[in-house]
């Protein structure tokens, strides 16, 4: 196990810069997720840690070793690819033991470690099969087995669950998390799915356009997003955004939308400026004294009801624990506790 340190990492392809001075410290044994929309540079960053992509500037440290110029095989890392990248002409056992074979490890030791990894992943019965004879989930496990056998300092996962169907993805999510809890190997996990990142990671790096937007624990990112991008990226359904201004009303600071709708704000809100107000869908509550909203669509999921509604001129999503029986066009009244409202600067998007 080892920590991973990315210092002022830059990457450009000719005139196009794709990573702009990224600094990330990944602690020893930590499960770190890199998350962001497609093209934000998260996979490039992972491939740079792996040594599959050269860095233009900066330093990558694995443990106390600077690995900038080290070949991938010397970095003591293992990587699980999005498409598994299993060797089709090798059996499961050969796939898993290939790295040890290359390292000239004795066959006995090789077999022992392959068997141990297969045991952890429930692959013992499949060791003699070829990848084409396995299901998607089994292939995914073999890819992880290949990584485990190497006993690396760092596991790198490049969107390993994106090819699985929804049900299997949830199951594999739990398996990977369990595996990490068992092995405690430093893990860097790239995903574009924020739910995956939230549920699995100790900490998350949110990236956008080659820059780090925020680093923090899942709940830190959820509860105190540093900026509008993180606020709207993290959370599903995503945070509602209202444009307006902070005013000083008789009852203290309030947020006034362009159409005149007003939310109460905490006393600390800086009045007298234009801002963006963010409200998480589950922070709306049904309240007879609240603001009037027109129901556009109602989506019951059983455990909760998602309502798309129109608050003044703005469309918003609310998530209610109650089983609502409202029809489109009907009016409901909702309120938000002032302490649960997020405020962002309307120009920079930075949290106020």
């Amino acid at each position: 196990m080892a920590s991973v340190s990315l210092r002022r990492i830059e990457k450009d392809y000719g005139a196009v810069q794709v990573i702009h001075g990224v600094d990330v410290e990944i602690r020893d044994g930590e499960f770190m997720a890199l998350v962001g929309p497609s093209g934000c540079g998260k996979s490039t960053l992972l491939r740079m840690i792996a040594g599959l992509e050269e860095i233009t500037d900066g330093e990558i440290w694995i443990g106390d070793q600077l690995v900038n110029d080290l070949a991938p095989k010397r970095r003591n890392i293992a990587m699980v690819f999005q498409n598994y990248a299993l060797y089709p002409h090798m059996t499961v056992a050969e796939n898993m033991g290939f790295s040890m074979k290359l390292a000239n490890e004795p066959k006995q030791e090789r077999d022992r470690r392959v068997a141990a990894a297969a045991d952890i992943l429930g692959l013992s019965e499949l060791l003699g099969r070829y990848p084409r004879q396995l299901s998607g989930g089994q292939r995914q496990r073999v890819a992880m087995g290949r990584a485990i056998v190497r006993d690396p300092k760092v596991f790198l996962f490049d969107e390993p669950l994106s090819n699985l169907d929804a049900k299997l993805r949830v199951a594999m999510r739990a398996e990977i998390k369990q595996l990490h809890q068992r092995l405690r190997t430093t893990t860097v996990f790239v995903t574009h799915d924020q739910v995956e990142a939230m549920t699995m990671a100790d900490r998350i790096v949110v990236m956008n356009a080659g820059r780090v937007e925020q680093i923090g624990t899942p709940l830190e990112l959820y509860d105190r997003p540093d900026n509008l991008f993180v606020a709207t990226f993290i959370g599903s359904p995503s945070m509602n955004r209202f444009d307006g201004e902070i005013i000083q009303s008789a009852n203290g600071p309030a947020f006034r939308l362009a159409d005149g709708t007003v939310f109460a704000l905490p006393a600390s809100a800086p009045a007298g400026q234009e801002a963006v107000c963010g409200v998480r869908p589950e922070h709306f509550a049904l309240d007879d004294n609240g603001i009037e909203a027109e129901v556009v669509v109602q989506e019951p999921t059983g455990s909760e009801t998602q309502v798309i509604m129109r608050l003044g001129a703005t469309q918003a999503t609310g998530l209610f624990r109650e089983r609502l029986s409202v029809e489109p066009g009907e009016r409901i009244r909702v309120s938000v506790k002032p302490g649960l409202i997020h405020l962002f600067d309307s120009k920079s998007g930075i949290r106020l």
Partner: protein, 291 residues
């Protein structure tokens, strides 16, 4: 109203089914005619090789041999230089095959996996070179081989064949390598493979269909090339099969019975090579690498 419409449906289905059957019949008849056009000359040569010289030109003409004989084969092997021609052809073909595939696949892997200046220009140039007919090159070949002192040697043929077959081998193999996911190379690099080991242990075993296709075309090309060996290496000691066969056709007489037997013997290895290559000419070897 409904019942009328329902009653008409099965009839319409029947007529469309018989229409499809008739169409299929026409296609199969066409295939049969085409197969006959291709196979008839081959069958004529094969069956003729088992006839006596007199029967080949007998009237009325026989298709199947009246008196089945292996004498033509026996004579061709014992009384002509055919074994030497076969040996020369085999040597030249095997070396051409080995050199072409080694150079061609390594170059193709480079073209497939790395970007370098003028990569596309080089690929197009290779294609253009392939379009030049050997007739145009024959005098330069002769002069070069003469300058190197390689006229009337098998080495000359191997050199020329290898050079002429490398471009399309690169094109075929590059096309094949492009279909193999790069993540396989990357996984192997992380597992500890050197660049050559990735190629040897991962890429090459998965490329048997591509290698078979390219290998068979190289085999066919070098086995059946006529003009180059006729000009460059036509002495009896180094002559290859195609030139040897030509020698059966004399100014005054032609030993058709020998020519038929020799033709069959020279064609057989091509068929064997095809059957061998065909085992691997199936896609799907790389299945299971990805999702």
């Amino acid at each position: 109203m409904n019942s009328v419409r329902d009653a008409s449906r099965p009839a319409r289905r029947d007529s469309s089914r018989s229409g499809v059957a008739a169409e299929t019949l026409v296609y199969y008849a066409l295939y049969a005619v085409l197969a006959l056009v291709v196979l008839f000359p081959l069958a004529w040569v094969l069956l003729g090789s088992f006839k006596n010289p007199g029967e080949i030109f007998a009237y009325p003409t026989t298709f199947f041999p009246r008196d089945f004989t292996l004498t033509n084969y026996n004579d061709v092997v014992r009384r002509t230089a055919l074994p030497t021609y076969l040996y020369n052809t085999a040597i030249v073909t095997v070396f051409t095959l080995v050199f072409t595939l080694i150079i061609g696949t390594i170059a193709a892997y480079g073209f497939s996996r790395w970007n370098f200046p003028f990569k596309n220009t080089t690929m197009v140039t290779l294609l253009i070179l392939q379009l030049i007919p050997s007739t145009v090159n024959i005098i330069p070949y002769y002069l070069m081989m003469n300058w190197m002192g390689l006229l009337n040697t098998r080495i000359a043929l191997v050199l020329i064949y290898t050079a002429t077959h490398i471009p399309f081998t690169i094109w075929i193999m590059k096309g094949y390598f492009d279909t193999l996911p790069r993540s396989l190379d990357e996984a192997a690099v992380i597992d500890g493979c050197s660049m050559f080991r990735v190629f040897w242990s991962i890429i090459l075993p998965l490329s048997l269909p591509g290698l078979s296709a390219a290998g068979f075309l190289v085999f066919l090309g070098s086995w059946s090339e006529f003009l180059v060996p006729l000009v460059i290496a036509n002495s009896r000691e180094v002559a290859v099969m195609s030139v040897g066969l030509y020698s059966f056709f004399g100014m005054d007489t032609t030993a058709y019975h020998y020519a038929f037997a020799a033709s069959v013997m020279s064609t057989a290895p091509v068929i064997v090579a095809y059957l061998f290559a065909q085992r691997y000419l199936v896609s799907g070897l790389a299945s299971g690498a990805e999702k």
